[in-house]
Amino acid sequence: MEQKQLSGSQAVLEACIAEGVDTIFGYPGGAIMPIYDALYDYKEKLNHILVRHEQGGIHAGQGYARTSGTVGVVFATSGPGATNLVTGLADAMIDSTPLVCITGQVFAHLLGTDAFQETDVINITMPVTKWNYQITDAEEIPAVLAKAFYLARSGRPGPVLIDISKNAQIQKFDYLGYTTCNHIRSYRPKPVIRKNYIDEAVELINNAKKPLVIFGQGVILGKAEKEFKKFIEKSGMPAAWTILGLSALSTDHPQNVGMLGMHGNYGPNVLTNECDVLIAVGMRFDDRVTGRLDKYAKQAKIIHLDIDPSEIDKNVKADVGVWGDCKETLPLLTLGIEQKDRSEWLAVFAKYAKEEYEQCIEPEMYPSKEEMTMAEVIRNVNEITEGNAIMVTDVGQHQMVTCRYAKFNQSRSNVTSGGLGTMGFGLPAAIGAKFGAQDRTVVAVIGDGGFQMTLQELGTIMQTGIDVKILILNNQFLGMVRQWQELFNDKRYSFVDIASPNYVMLAKSYGIEGAKVEHRKDLVDAVKTMLAHKGSYLLEVMVGKENNVFPMVPQGCSVSEIRLK
């Protein structure tokens, strides 16, 4: 390798290129100016998207990572720029989203002096990053960034933050080229798979009369959708998903029995407490999935597949912990399990599904009452997209409804803030999702509350000309909190009544076409217009103010106590 002099900033950008990065979401500022100055010469190779707020930048990075299956890259400056990343880091940490965030920092000699725009970003972000590191010497940049990308994407993915002092960005050093990292001695991305637990799991499955598979995002993160499908198909087991597992298995697969948890489907929740073997694949038994833990699947033997050893036995004790990457462990299980006909067991799910359809789903999807429902809006979207769109959601009632009713034919199509429940995630994540999958339709379903948290990113849409369909389901309330206040706080509606601006005019001021629908008769055409429109479009649909999302497992209740009304 010929020896040449590079600045730290150039080395950062060279690292991005070597790692295959094509898109960066960011916002400049004083302490990161040298990197932005270098970026001026890299415009051809790196597409930098100027967002309107660093939180928007990191959510866009998350959306990008989720749809593209690669690492999202985010740039921000020191101080407020860096602290604005914290919500996104926490979101990416709990949802295992691979990110590399690069923040500028004050000159090394000013560290600890309360310099202008100095914050201790390393310590602030420590609990919400998989790894973070501060660079004060440019020579460290290539090796540290190689480590950052490796850590972000390998094992259980997660966000990594690299803080680079301004002097290191400016400093010239002898650049010896970039070597990717694939081994750190103190870091084990994948546990070693052992025969004993594979054999034990196979035996449990083969002896099971009523096995239930529950799967999470691990299947998607492990790029193991095919392996997973083969696994469930071989022995005919029903499979239910967590919110982040959604789209790993197409929604119309005959063995897909629906969603788990608080607003999940009737059958999978009730039957969790009736199955004899529960096989959890790449999921972490979140409390929103399990409901009351001491009444969760007590009758079942539990097999838990996870790449992260600390997840096994964390919330639910496993009878057999299958440590490893599910892309490798699933085929080993499939090899051992017997072909079985489980139609009788699947019929039990169908029975519950029928009851749920009659009591909950049909009245929501095809309402007879005058006001529109969120579910019928999603049904209309389904009918046109036929399950081929990427659905990005914010957080709240619309999120639960979209995840319950949207159709998906392919993986990496559902982008939502699962673990952290970050309102304001939807719009910026949708922008990133579109950059990560430019040939696909991206529909951002957002409530009137969450939209008002990050609507400044309409400016990013305007400037980049990216095509995102924004569907605001407006119930004039912070709907999910209102629902809880109705059910558990005697309808004491405390600060959930939220006013909205004129969204169509707002969009228009950003050069985005839009429409508002208040009556059912206009809905179909409005949805069609939105989806057929070239470029971004905002559709606001006025839905019933006090509609509730059901079924529901009330907090503190067991999954078998799920309420249909």
């Binding site: 609990p127 070693v192 992260d308 600390s310 496993a318």
Partner: protein, 200 residues
């Protein structure tokens, strides 16, 4: 409930890379769960360049097991172990400062110091500093015994511990440096039987 939910003293031994900020990463694992750290020591280990943390907590086995896995998950942590007191040999060091005039005049004190195996590490006209090593009860006893004679200052170090059954880290480290590690590296000895639900 079983032993796994009863609180007792556990000593956690962590082998790590020497990296700025790692102490914090480990400390926040405890503070996030509102677990009080009774004692924490960092020092070199038997392997050059590898650091060794010794952390003492009063917790149940269930909690300690989860905490240890979270510690091991940190990128710069090579390996973490946890042991009950009967599985380790440990010591703490204590220093006691007393006024010379009190001590030199009272024969009783001299006997006391001998009894507790204390030795003088500094002798001055105005004060004397004694040192003992031992378990907490032992160093505490001398503190209590010296109190009536004007104990001016007292300080005790964190616990340092040797694991009786451990063969050290030299061989293990070789394993870690391999790309395809042996079974030792990722042990799943923790996998227990399914028991009562644990809530932390």
């Amino acid at each position: 409930m079983s032993n796994n939910t009863e609180k007792q003293e556990y000593t956690i031994t962590v082998y790590t890379e020497n990296q700025v900020g790692l102490l914090n990463r480990i400390a926040i694992i405890f503070s996030r769960r509102k677990i009080n750290v009774e004692s924490l020591n960092t020092s070199p280990s038997e392997v050059q360049g590898i650091h060794r943390f010794t952390i003492v907590v009063m917790e149940s086995r269930d909690v300690v097991l989860k905490v240890v896995r979270q510690i091991e998950k940190q990128v710069e942590v090579l390996k973490a172990y946890f042991n009950t007191n009967d599985e380790i040999v440990w010591q703490e060091l204590a220093l006691y400062k007393v006024l010379s005039e009190e001590i030199t005049e009272k024969v009783k004190v001299e006997r006391l110091l001998r009894e507790f195996g204390a030795r003088a590490v500094a002798i001055r006209k105005d004060f004397i500093v004694f040192e003992t090593t031992g378990h907490r009860e032992e160093t505490n006893k001398l503190m209590q015994a010296l109190e009536p004679f004007g104990l001016v200052e007292f300080v005790r170090s964190a616990r340092v511990a040797i694991i009786k059954e451990s063969a050290g880290f030299h061989e293990k480290l070789k394993d870690f440096e391999e790309r395809e590690p042996g079974e030792e590296v990722i042990e799943n000895e923790y996998l227990g039987k399914r028991e009562a639900v644990f809530t932390m």
